[in-house]
């Protein structure tokens, strides 16, 4: 009987502090939905791109608490989000850098970002900020986008260091995004258009400082203003450095590649060929190691070169084409009129699979 009593007491805690916390947990659990702060939200961790609610996401109980109130001249206010005790262990998506999809009092669903953990003696809170900008940029000719939070950065008082001089920054803008594959492509000097609708030219910023470890899971970019370039920046899409190449960037393809297609790789950094430069070598990366013959067709928009399955060397206008096994090289003569030409290269394997790539002629 005494042992049973001891076990019951031990379950409630080994000291008064543990008992009080256990009781408080019990009380808050019992009264969880008797509170105007009670909400049911989705939490989404994003690997790349914009967050989406899918069938695997479930509604999670939270309390939406005030951290600070809106003040004129300061940042958007932060709020606290409290999950039910133990919810983090059940849902791996909960953590700094995850998005929260929450309904406001008018029934409108909005995206928020978990930006920090406020560890307390009890009732851990997450600090959340409302996402107020969709950041778009181009990397490797692909358009990336991410829901972001804009902040003023009063702490960025050291300014920009130019070695011999330091410029101080007035109301430097900072932008916070979750750390993921997509946002890790943003480097120094990456340009963004961040401006209200209708402003011509739009306001243009570039990254001057990156911080991704305080806290881990969130990347904070400091931005300094830079010049709008109407030749390369796209104001309709609000994407900076959009048309730096004749081959316009694309949104990432979500559909899985067909088994009947293969990639074409090339030597060098970019899919470009310099006039009068060395030969660019393209390789058909066939899906298996069996040796197949590849036929290469090349079009420059006006003329079409139709290849054969044999190895050959042929001059096609200003281009010298050498086909050998699964590789094809193109050398462009020293004709500066060709700059800007886009070559569409199609490779066809004798098993029926195909590959394609666009290549720009540069000066």
């Amino acid at each position: 009987m005494f042992e049973h009593y001891k076990n019951r007491m031990a379950h409630k805690g080994s000291n008064l502090s543990e008992m009080l916390r256990a009781q408080s947990n019990m009380v808050i659990e019992q009264t969880w939905d008797r509170d105007p702060n009670y909400r049911r939200v989705y939490v989404v961790k994003v690997g790349s791109g914009l967050p989406k609610i899918t069938a695997k996401h479930e509604l999670i109980d939270v309390k939406f608490n005030v951290d600070s109130y809106q003040k004129v001249g300061s940042d958007e206010p932060a709020y606290h989000l409290q999950f039910r005790h133990g919810a983090e262990k059940l849902n791996a998506d909960i953590g700094v850098g995850s998005y929260v999809y929450m309904e406001d009092e008018d029934g409108e669903w909005k995206w928020w970002l978990l930006t920090a953990i406020d560890e307390r003696p009890q009732f851990r809170q997450y600090i959340i900020l409302e996402c107020n900008w969709t950041l778009k940029w181009v990397f490797n000719n692909q358009i990336h986008s991410c829901l972001a939070v804009q902040r003023y950065q009063s702490s960025y008082s050291s300014g920009l260091d130019f070695g011999s001089r330091i410029t101080s920054v007035d109301d430097a803008t900072s932008i916070w995004v979750p750390t993921n594959k997509s946002t890790q492509t943003i480097g120094y000097n990456q340009k963004f258009l961040i401006s209200d609708v209708g402003r011509i030219p739009p306001l243009c910023y570039e990254v001057s400082k990156i911080s991704d470890t305080s806290p881990v899971g969130l990347t904070k970019f400091s931005l300094s203003q830079t010049l709008y370039n109407d030749k390369t920046d796209n104001v309709e899409l609000m994407i900076a450095d959009y048309s730096t190449s004749e081959i316009l960037p694309e949104y990432p393809k979500n559909e899985p590649e067909s088994p009947n297609t293969f990639d074409i790789s090339y030597n060098g950094i970019n899919p470009t060929i310099k006039v009068g430069g060395s030969a660019k070598v393209f390789t058909a990366n066939l899906p298996d190691d069996n040796h197949f013959n590849v036929k290469w067709n090349i079009s420059d928009g006006a003329n079409m070169h139709e290849g054969t399955y044999n190895n050959y060397t042929q001059v096609f206008g200003d281009y010298t084409i050498v086909v050998k096994d699964q590789t094809m090289s193109i050398k462009v003569t020293n004709n500066y009129n060709l700059i800007g030409t886009i070559l569409n290269i199609f490779a066809e394997c004798d098993d029926g699979s195909t590959g394609a790539i666009q290549v720009e002629v540069i000066g």
């Binding site: 130019f162 070695g163 120094y188 000097n189 990156i210 030597n267 060098g268 310099k274 009068g276 009129n337």
Partner: protein, 191 residues
């Protein structure tokens, strides 16, 4: 463009093209620039990445790099012979302090300076002989050290067999107000 871009009648543009091709075609220069992204089979990728045909002071970066930048100046006709002019080619090498030390027993900016001098000094590749007149070491800020090579050459000062602008010369004979109808420069040089 209505002009033939392959036959640009401007020695600065032509010479800058040649200098760029000369620099990236030297495998030792590509090796010493030490950018792992530049494939030796595609050295022209170094243009506008490590080699710039204008003076470009390195900006805020995430990767320390070495750069060769160059500019070409006309500095007026000769004092005694106005049909000749002096041209200065200035090559500025920027190397980040973390990359200065090499495995070749020479500092990277000095080594690049040597390779460029080896290619260009006393070379006739630009038509008339280049001669090195200065090679100065320097720095831009706490991060980059530089070497500036200056070459001089004496070259013809737009020597033409006529004393007017070719379009105006044409228009005296056959006046056309529309520039599109003008015949391009070159071809008929009989004055």
């Amino acid at each position: 463009m209505i002009r033939d871009i392959n036959q640009i009648d401007d020695d600065i543009v032509r010479k800058k093209r040649i200098i760029g091709e000369m620099l990236y075609s030297d495998p030792d220069i590509i090796e010493v620039l030490d950018n792992k992204d530049i494939d030796s089979t595609c050295p022209e990728d170094a243009m506008y990445v490590n080699i710039y045909p204008f003076i470009r002071v390195p900006d805020v970066q995430d990767v320390a790099r070495s750069y060769i930048t160059y500019m070409l100046d006309d500095v007026g006709p000769g004092r005694t012979n106005s049909t000749m002019k002096s041209q200065y080619l200035q090559v500025v090498i920027f190397v980040h302090k973390d990359l200065v030390k090499t495995n070749y027993g020479a500092e990277r900016h000095d080594l690049l300076g040597y390779l460029i001098r080896d290619n260009l000094n006393w070379s006739n590749v630009l038509g008339l002989q280049l001669s090195l007149i200065s090679s100065r070491e320097g720095y831009t800020d706490a991060n980059y050290c530089t070497r500036t090579l200056q070459f001089e050459m004496t070259t013809p000062n737009s020597v033409k067999p006529f004393n007017t602008n070719p379009y105006e010369r044409k228009s005296i004979v056959n006046r056309k107000d529309n520039i599109v109808q003008r015949e391009p420069v070159g071809g008929d040089n009989n004055g």
